[in-house]
Symmetry: C2
Subunit: 425 residues, 2 copies
């Protein structure tokens, strides 16, 4: 069981988490719990580090920020004991959760399960702070923001857990954002690959890395709400938790359940860049993307228009083309700088950029065996007069770039077109 920061925000909520853990233990399950820091605490600690020095040593940053989860793990152990559930905290260095030495963004190498198995054998619940580990040399590491999901999946994999339940502030994974489409449905099951595609295009339920790890280690992950049963405002935990969404291997989804399209995601955090009049020569595309890669900027969609003869200079008659691609909006300024520095090498005309774009993606493992998914998308959007600025596809995803003002309309019409709308109430 993994609980996020909003679930741990204050002793009243930690008590409610303890009650949930007790129910699982009382049902005869051996339970390990992974906890985040109290909501806001990690930001507070990161803020201290930045204030102490903008160029802080990541090794010391890890000492500081790992304290947030250390605190909540001890508090949950106390809250569990208070309701007669034997429990103890096991910190990253105690377990240990061994990581590499990439401080502030470490990766887990191995998790020693001896202490966990001892804890289970003693009938106790192990409470493990998420987000932290220990590197060779006995120094504390952290896994990067959102790393507690990864901790939970890694612990589940290490102990061969039957299930990894991740409690969040949503009650599952939906066919699309319910704030846009009220008739969006909660999915009972979704495959790892679909979840990865949905996560990478803005449906931020789980940290992407944790889903990749779950897929690799075949950990069955359930996303469910910490707050179900509290909608009446009395704060009392319900006797039963509503089922959430299971994230599983494709083999666990039978044909009857399988949909052509599982979900529709949208992402407004992209920016579009067009370089005009790029010479149409071998090596030019590489000269564009090399400086971006060197600056650690992820390029997503790429379109190269058909080359056209240059009319400006009849004498040498060079061929030129426009190249359009997207980068994360947060990296736009750095991208422009990198490209302008490489202007001589690339030899482009103008650099045009636009942040008023949105990426809409339809995702589903079903599209592997069905043609026509992409054309349904283009037809549906075209019928509503929505202009497609770029297209990219993967085996289980089709994404288009449109004007951001048309995001909600596009998501709604696609949700209907793919038959995802729930029955009207």
């Amino acid at each position: 069981m993994k609980f996020g920061g909003t679930s741990m925000a204050g002793i009243e909520r930690i008590r409610s988490v303890a009650a949930r853990v007790k129910r699982e233990a009382a049902a005869g399950n051996q339970v390990a719990v992974v906890v985040s820091a109290m909501a806001g605490e990690t930001d507070r600690l990161v803020g201290f580090c930045r204030e102490a020095s903008p160029l802080y040593d990541p090794r010391e940053y890890d000492v500081v920020v790992s304290a947030g989860e250390q605190i909540t793990s001890g508090l949950l152990a106390i809250a569990l004991q208070a309701i007669n559930v034997p429990a103890r905290s096991l910190l990253g260095w105690q377990l240990p959760i061994r990581t590499d030495t990439a401080f502030a963004k470490a990766r887990i190498d191995t998790i020693d399960t001896d202490a966990l198995e001892e804890s289970f054998a003693a009938g106790a619940v192990a409470v493990i702070p998420g987000f932290q580990g220990v590197a060779p040399g006995q120094r504390i590491t952290t896994l990067g923001r959102g790393g507690s999901d990864t901790s939970a999946v890694a612990v589940a994999a290490a102990i061969r857990a039957d299930r990894c339940d991740i409690y969040t502030d949503v009650d599952g994974v939906y066919t699309t954002d319910p704030r846009i489409v009220p008739r969006a449905r909660k999915l009972a099951k979704v495959t790892y690959e679909e979840m990865l595609e949905l996560a990478s295009v803005g449906a931020k339920v789980l940290q992407t890395r944790s889903v990749g790890l779950a897929m690799k280690e075949k950990v069955r992950v359930q996303v469910l709400s910490s707050f179900t049963g509290r909608a009446d405002g009395d704060g009392a935990p319900m006797a039963d938790t509503l089922p959430g969404t299971m994230i599983v291997g494709e083999e666990e989804i039978d044909d009857v359940e399988r949909q052509l399209i599982t979900g529709i995601a949208h992402d407004k955090n992209e920016a579009k860049i067009t370089l005009t009049r790029v010479p149409d020569q071998p090596g030019t595309v590489a000269s564009i993307f090399e400086p971006l890669a060197a600056a650690n900027i992820n390029v997503d969609m790429i379109i190269q228009n058909i080359a056209h003869q240059s009319a400006s200079n009849g004498a040498s008659s060079t061929s030129a083309t426009d190249v359009t691609f997207t980068v994360p909006a947060a990296d736009l300024a750095r991208s422009i700088e990198a490209l302008n520095q490489a202007r001589e090498t690339i030899g482009f005309g103008e650099l045009i950029h636009d942040t008023r774009v949105a990426k809409i993606s339809v995702v589903g493992v079903g599209m592997r065996s069905h043609a026509g998914v992409a054309s349904t998308m283009f037809t549906t959007l075209g019928a509503r007069g929505i202009n497609i600025q770029a297209i990219s596809t993967s085996e289980i995803k089709v994404s288009v770039l449109i004007h951001e003002d048309e995001t909600e309309l596009a998501v709604r019409v696609l949700h209907t077109a793919y038959g995802l709308d729930a029955e009207a109430a």
Copy 2:
């Protein structure tokens, strides 16, 4: 160098601490720093534990509350690096500082100095969180409130430091409380034993245990202010720190410096209990103090009045007496409960209690070789009409119990009587 919670309260102050550490290092000293948590942080964490369960597991409490010093140790390391002082944090379990398993009030057994010596050899400042250690079984321990002073002295002893500078919010040890006697003088030197007596009677500059350890390990401790040089309000650290008070062995104080009386302390945290008509028989006194000892209550001053014949029962003519003693005011309720439970065994008449008392103590190693200290005290107080309710003495201390309303008057007249007043300005 050890810095308390007010010195670590916020990044601006941590930066000021870093500047002070840099001056010591720049002067060619090898420096280890012990830090407290930010002021208020330990209270916040203790509050969480109590809220989670009034009967919290001290092992988990230690996991939670030790986080406060972990945070400041990382932050000070970052702040030192930012001003080009190589530094790294070394947590209790990393060093390690080995303690016993008395969680929440552990005692240090040994400190491994390998990592410290490596750090010195590398020209780096070691930043050690105070108050924490690690018990057999690799579990985090804490040393009890105020334990950071003890950590500092223990580290100083382990590395055979030339000096242990403890930065506090006072600038040294005074002949008495300067808020009561404006002409109190700052002492240049005080002996361990005097400091112990002063600390135990309310002059709370250092944790008592740390002074005892310094005496045992012959660590020269200097108490000085973190804030000297900031009185002008610009927050800039001064080029030189004003000297504080050195706490040293008696052999370091020469005859010229030696005073008859070093200081006068007062303590309003005592409560007086009188049991009337206690049978004057062998074993009765034991029957009073055994239940208090069993409840872990420290009894301080004890007076047994002269026995008087009981007049109430002419037939059996038993002899009875009144017994008066003091306990910490915080333990009064528990003391009364323990005594009432033992009422049958003790056989006392009434239990009378009074919290409106104060203990005034004159302290000085000089009184070993000088008679008349006690009689000067009684005469001085008597001349001002101050009634003495109880007396206790040690080799270097005379204490009296008086009405708490007379505390300030008593301290003032004694300060003058023993020649401690500074020259008038």
